[in-house]
């Protein structure tokens, strides 16, 4: 039918025009929220004559879900955490590069080159690293704050005034550290102990929130909250009367990494961007903004006084932090059930 052919033609023309066109002068970033200063993006755009667009996510898992749901091929780079780099690599979602493609490759701190989640840095570069523990208002609880019992077996002063991260991986890793059992243990009695611990701790928790943790501390809604060290520093600078704890049982460390995604539409610009971030001046700009620690040599002298002396960025020599591990499918299944029990 002539008429319907016309309509169909019109429809598909519309579809074609609605598709975004990718030209060489573009870069598409998939990044955490509030993690890179806009001026730095503008600087990159001006230096390389590239149009930069950025979408943000609020957890490694949310990013993975979006990429798996058909967004591969639309972003050039993403910024997954340590264990997520390994997962994405195993799923074939990462492209590789030669170290010779990045003139700043040797700026990486040597200890961050041969990392377990990407040995030899074939697909990723270090972005920032930091720790995950908690901040407490010392006016509300005057005792020693450097123990996980404040979160998992809280004293009366803190009960009902605690926010925890809405993140299964972090909470279960911290609970395992508190109990002194290995992460992702498949031992049944240890898994049951984890489940029981979280059940008994939950009654003392006021809320589960990751992206509004800072706001909750600043506004005084809660007296203690699990946080990332950079968020703890920013909360303190915004007026929250809190101190960041380095629990004696140990704490979580993590490293976010810029990865080159498979099927990146602008691979060349992605490489330029990674090289750009390995320049100490630019890495320092990120650190001064986000208040974590860069994995690049020569950043130290470029840091602001505030960041240099921040207690959140200068952990004591002991205890040392541990990375969150990616569990096997069997253990993850039990972890999912524990998480469901916690939130049912």
């Amino acid at each position: 039918m002539k008429f319907s052919t016309k309509i169909a033609t019109a429809f598909f023309t519309l579809l074609v025009f609605a598709m975004p066109a990718h030209s060489a002068g573009k870069l598409s970033i998939y990044h955490w929220f509030e993690y890179i200063p806009q001026e730095l993006l503008d600087k990159f755009a001006a230096e390389h004559d590239v149009e930069v667009t950025m979408d943000t996510f609020d957890s490694n898992e949310a990013m993975l879900a979006v990429l798996k749901a058909g967004k591969m091929g639309s972003y050039d780079v993403a910024v997954p955490g340590d264990y997520m780099v390994e997962i994405m690599n195993k799923d074939g979602m990462l492209d590789t590069f030669e170290s010779s493609e990045l003139s700043n490759f040797d700026n990486m701190m040597p200890e961050w080159v041969d990392v377990g989640f990407d040995p030899g840095r074939k697909s990723s570069i270090p972005y920032q690293w930091g720790s995950t523990a908690f901040s407490v208002n010392p006016a509300v609880y005057t005792g020693d704050i450097n123990t996980w019992s404040l979160m998992f077996d809280p004293p009366a002063e803190l009960q009902g005034k605690i926010n925890v991260l809405d993140s299964q991986g972090d909470i279960l890793a911290m609970a395992a550290i508190y109990l002194g059992i290995p992460q992702c243990s498949s031992d049944r009695s240890e898994l049951k102990a984890l489940n029981d611990l979280l059940q008994s701790a939950k009654v003392h928790w006021a809320s589960f929130a990751s992206d509004s943790a800072k706001d909750k501390l600043v506004s005084g809604d809660v007296a203690a909250s699990m946080v990332w060290n950079g968020v703890a520093a920013r909360a303190r600078q915004e007026g929250a009367p809190v101190t960041y704890a380095y629990p004696k049982e140990g704490y979580v460390v993590w490293m976010d990494n810029v990865v080159l995604l498979k099927d990146a539409p602008n691979r060349e610009n992605a490489i330029k961007f990674m090289n750009f971030l390995l320049d100490p001046i630019n890495a320092a700009a990120v650190t001064n903004f986000a208040q974590y620690t860069a994995g690049v040599k020569g950043v130290g002298p470029l840091l602001s006084e505030q960041v240099k002396n921040s207690p959140e960025l200068n952990p004591p020599a002991l205890p040392v932090g541990t990375f969150v591990e990616a569990c096997t499918e069997e253990v993850q299944k039990v972890y999912d059930t524990i998480w469901l029990n916690l939130k049912k």
Partner: protein, 307 residues
């Protein structure tokens, strides 16, 4: 002669569009097909597939998602299967929250709609306009503002303390009350507008006739007004209840995300560590079927009554 002209004109029109019916309907079919049937079918298919570890699906038929919903096999998945109450509990909690929010909306929305519909002339449209103004602001922003209002040292508590209603700040944030308040506030206009449309068509001489026959105001309300405007009330209730059931902004931001609601349970299957897409799809399908069954039942009841 005039009659013939009209008929001729009609014939011409009919002739122009002769046989084009199906293609003229194409935009509608495309809309329904692309935006309704296709996504729901995809969900249905996904719910019967095998889950891939950490999100995604393997194209193999599996009933595991529905099994997980119905049977509880303990922490390690190898206890003898028992009835699983966890998800039913989550559904029940969501239904209760949505029900209370709907009731609140009805209690406030009905008098509001009545008030607006009984104004004269232009002031009606001004009132309606006022009702819709807050909804020009994004739902997320409104929910966050609500959080600021009801927090422990927020304006709501300060006001109640200043007039001596309470001595110490009330714990409102991170409670079920906060969730219901948030849902109520989010969806109130969906209750007011359909009821307003019904009340506007109400013939007020019916109320006068009832009064002439010595009916009390309460009886008039119950036996005459409510049955007449019932379609509006029911439309309003459905429009508030259904989105409240799947809401996850209010439970997350105001309720503190301590317990799963249907919306956050589904969200966790896709964006959380669980990464169990078939299960998320299955929960969505169960929710969809539940709502459809209730609505079909209601439509049947209505048509039986009408005939």
């Amino acid at each position: 002669m005039a009659m013939q002209d009209i008929n001729q004109g009609k014939n011409t029109t009919t002739h122009t569009y002769q046989g084009l019916g199906p293609s003229l309907l194409m935009p509608t079919w495309l809309m329904i097909g692309i935006f309704l049937v296709l996504p729901v079918l995809m969900m249905l298919v996904y719910s019967f597939l095998t889950k891939e570890f950490r999100g995604g699906v393997i194209w193999e038929f599996s009933l595991n998602a529905y099994d997980q919903f119905i049977f509880d096999r303990g922490l390690f998945g190898d206890d003898p299967p028992k009835m699983e109450w966890t998800y039913i509990g989550i559904f029940w909690r969501s239904i209760l929250q949505a029900g209370i929010a709907t009731l609140l909306c009805l209690l406030i929305g009905f008098p509001t709609a009545w008030f607006i519909a009984t104004r004269v002339g232009n002031s009606k449209s001004i009132w309606l306009f006022l009702i819709t103004i807050p909804y020009w602001v994004n739902l997320l922003i409104r929910t966050i503002s609500m959080k600021f209002l009801i927090r422990e040292n927020g304006p709501a508590n300060e006001f109640m303390m200043s007039i001596g209603l309470i001595d110490a700040p009330l714990q409102m944030i991170n409670t079920n009350f906060a969730v219901q308040l948030g849902l109520f506030y989010s969806y109130l206009p969906f209750m007011v507008l359909p009821i307003y449309a019904s009340v506007e068509r109400y013939n007020f001489s019916l109320s006068e006739a009832a009064a002439d026959l010595y009916s009390s105001q309460w009886v008039t309300l119950r036996k005459i007004i409510i049955p007449t405007v019932k379609p509006g009330i029911i439309a309003g209730c459905i429009l508030v209840f259904v989105p409240s059931l799947g809401a996850f902004l209010a439970p997350d931001l105001l309720g503190g995300a301590k317990s799963f609601m249907i919306g956050s349970l589904i969200e966790d299957q896709f964006g959380g560590q669980a990464g169990n897409w078939p299960f998320g799809a299955a929960v969505s399908m169960i929710l969809l079927s539940m709502v459809l069954i209730v609505l079909t039942f209601y439509a049947r009841l209505q048509s039986r009554r009408a005939s």
